[in-house]
């Protein structure tokens, strides 16, 4: 067995910024002022905020040390299910920082922003052809924001048709953002259970779908990593009662070039550029959540929209049925640049290879670990597979214990305790950019941990042992919140 990547090393302590502060230091080169100083009315001014006073090296060392306490995709394998933690290409960062993009002011005017508009227009076209939809908006700032945009369009569609509806169907495997987005539109979530094989049965949907139901929100592939193969029948049932089908495209990384959601009955779909299209997660964002729609929903897209006029591009806002505006300007343009660069680097064939290899990697892990960990749904999976801690219960070892121990082996743990339909879920999404050697190392690490669970369960209970801090007291953090220093 090859050596595991996890190893203890020198880690630096680093105090809070303000503990390093010394009166009189300043880390910025202040511009020289060459105009007269004009004092505002003292009634309007306050004291300078008590920000830390540091030298440039103080700041550099502070953040360098902080960064060393973090684990990123560039540090090691990050098989976080449902999050698609693939490699973030560095050329994308170079493209986004070009001066013509980074310095562009959003109110420069269409005439002087043709490069940005062309990029946005073409990215919309590419996402439309990848997903099989008629039109795309890039404005939503994240996946959940895209969901909100999609649900607002469904809401506006029903309003326009003359009768608003009050409910929306959501399967138990859905991300929590789905019901939360539906609530923002005033829809009551009708939760339905997935069937025995981990996918939705058309009968279940037929039983609750009625003419007061706005539609259904489906994640396909779903969060168990399974393809919802009844999607067409489900869409027919929903459409027959005048409803619409919302697709959560969080898992699009499994099906590029294989399935176009716009061709299988889905009416509106959001994408996560920070998942499928390789833009970095940044420790929580910024992401970007474009939304693709069928022709019937195009009038409801948010404004402004980008349109092509012969050989030039412009923004239009004159769309009477639009849901309105969702972002102060045009969305996360900086993130769009990176996704655009990625799509051009991959080409159509490359994107299909991405999905194929993502699915290969997940199935390889599923088959390699299924005797080691319990696999509640032993079916061919898509880009991720979900195990749980059933086999470890006899040793009183939980999914959380195994996840924490994986840190010591040098791996980021999978997503744990989600989806909620699997008790103690351990949800692995390797992505296509992990090599067979790295995946084999991960498989070996899991096997070694499972062995430890039997041999030395106490070690797992205390894990992680090599990280800067050990398990943290989340109870006190929530009981006595301390949210500022």
């Amino acid at each position: 067995m090859s050596q595991q990547p996890g190893k203890s090393g020198l880690i630096f302590n680093e105090p809070m910024l303000w503990e390093k502060s010394r009166e009189g230091r300043c880390a910025i080169s202040l511009p020289k002022s060459d105009v007269d100083r004009v004092d505002l009315d003292p009634e309007l001014t306050g004291d300078a905020p008590e920000l830390p006073q540091l030298s440039e090296l103080d700041v550099v060392r502070h953040y360098t040390r902080l960064s060393q306490w973090n684990f990123g995709v560039d540090s090691g394998m990050y098989p976080l299910g449902s999050c698609t933690m693939k490699y973030n290409p560095k050329t994308n960062e170079v493209q986004a920082s070009r001066q013509g993009f980074a310095s562009a002011h959003p109110f420069s005017g269409d005439e002087f922003s043709q490069g940005a508009l062309a990029l946005m227009y073409n990215l919309e076209q590419y996402l439309a052809t990848i997903t099989g939809f008629h039109a795309v908006t890039l404005q939503p700032a994240a996946g959940a924001h895209g969901e909100l945009a999609g649900m607002l369009m469904i809401h506006a569609y029903h309003a326009k048709s003359g009768k608003q509806r009050s409910k929306i169907i959501i399967p138990d495997t859905a991300h929590g953002t789905n019901p939360a987005s539906a609530t923002l539109c005033g829809y009551e979530s009708i939760n339905v259970k997935s069937g025995e094989k981990g996918i939705l049965d058309p009968e279940t949907v037929a039983a609750v779908m009625d003419e007061d139901t706005a539609g259904i929100m489906v994640t396909n592939p779903n969060t168990l990593g399974l393809f919802e193969s009844n999607i067409r029948q489900i869409a027919d049932i929903v459409h027959a009662k005048g409803g619409l089908v919302y697709g959560d495209g969080a898992n699009m990384n499994a099906i590029m070039g294989v399935v176009k959601p716009g061709e299988i009955g889905i009416d509106v779909l959001h994408l996560n550029l920070h998942k499928t299209f390789s833009t970095p997660h940044g420790g929580g964002g910024p992401g970007s959540g474009p939304v693709a729609v069928v022709k019937a929903l195009e009038p409801f897209l948010p404004v402004p929209r980008v349109v092509k006029d012969l050989n030039s591009y412009k923004f239009v806002t004159d769309c009477p049925d639009t849901i309105g505006r969702l972002h102060t300007f045009y969305g996360h343009f900086g993130v769009m640049i990176k996704a655009y660069a990625y799509i051009l680097s991959m080409g159509a064939k490359g994107l299909k290879d991405v999905s194929t290899l993502a699915v290969l990697n997940a199935n390889y892990i599923k088959e390699s670990l299924k005797g080691t960990l319990n696999l509640p749904y032993d079916l061919p999976c898509m880009h991720e597979c979900v195990f749980n801690d059933e086999f470890q219960k006899k040793d009183h070892i939980t999914t959380m214990d195994m996840a924490k121990r994986l840190l010591d082996y040098g791996f980021h743990p999978p997503t744990v305790y989600f989806p909620l339909v699997v008790e103690g879920a351990f949800m692995v999404e390797p992505t296509e950019t992990e090599s067979k050697e790295d995946i084999d190392q991960f498989i070996n690490a899991v096997k070694a941990i499972v062995k430890e669970a039997g041999d030395d369960p106490e070690k797992l209970k205390k894990a992680p042992l090599l990280t800067k801090v050990t398990r943290l007291d989340e109870v006190t953090a929530a009981r006595k919140p301390c949210l500022r220093g």
Partner: protein, 132 residues
Amino acid sequence: MKEINDLNLPDDVKYTKDHEWAKLSEDIVTIGINDYAQDQLGEIVFVELPEVGDTFSEGDEFGSVESVKAVSEMYIPISGEIVEINESLEDAPELVNESCYDDGWIIKVKPDDVSELDNLMNKAAYLDMLKG
């Protein structure tokens, strides 16, 4: 988590199907969550309380209890007006874990109709429900 037989279920309170308890004393009903509920939730980090003077009908949601990763709504077993809330829970929600029938009580209600309490379960009936 506790086995059903290890639960502390006093005889002098009444139980709801949502695991609240209620006790009548001098025309005022004191309400909290029972040992089973606090044990299932684990370490309680926050109790969302109504305000004194709020009125509720039987079965209304009147607040919630939170652990680090779960929220559980509480439903009032009797219609009436809130006359007192347990303010000490604001700083010490752990009282619900430590003493759910005494220091960890949640609200006191002036009931509209005391007879609504007759709809609640006694210890034996509640235990039967838990054993299902």
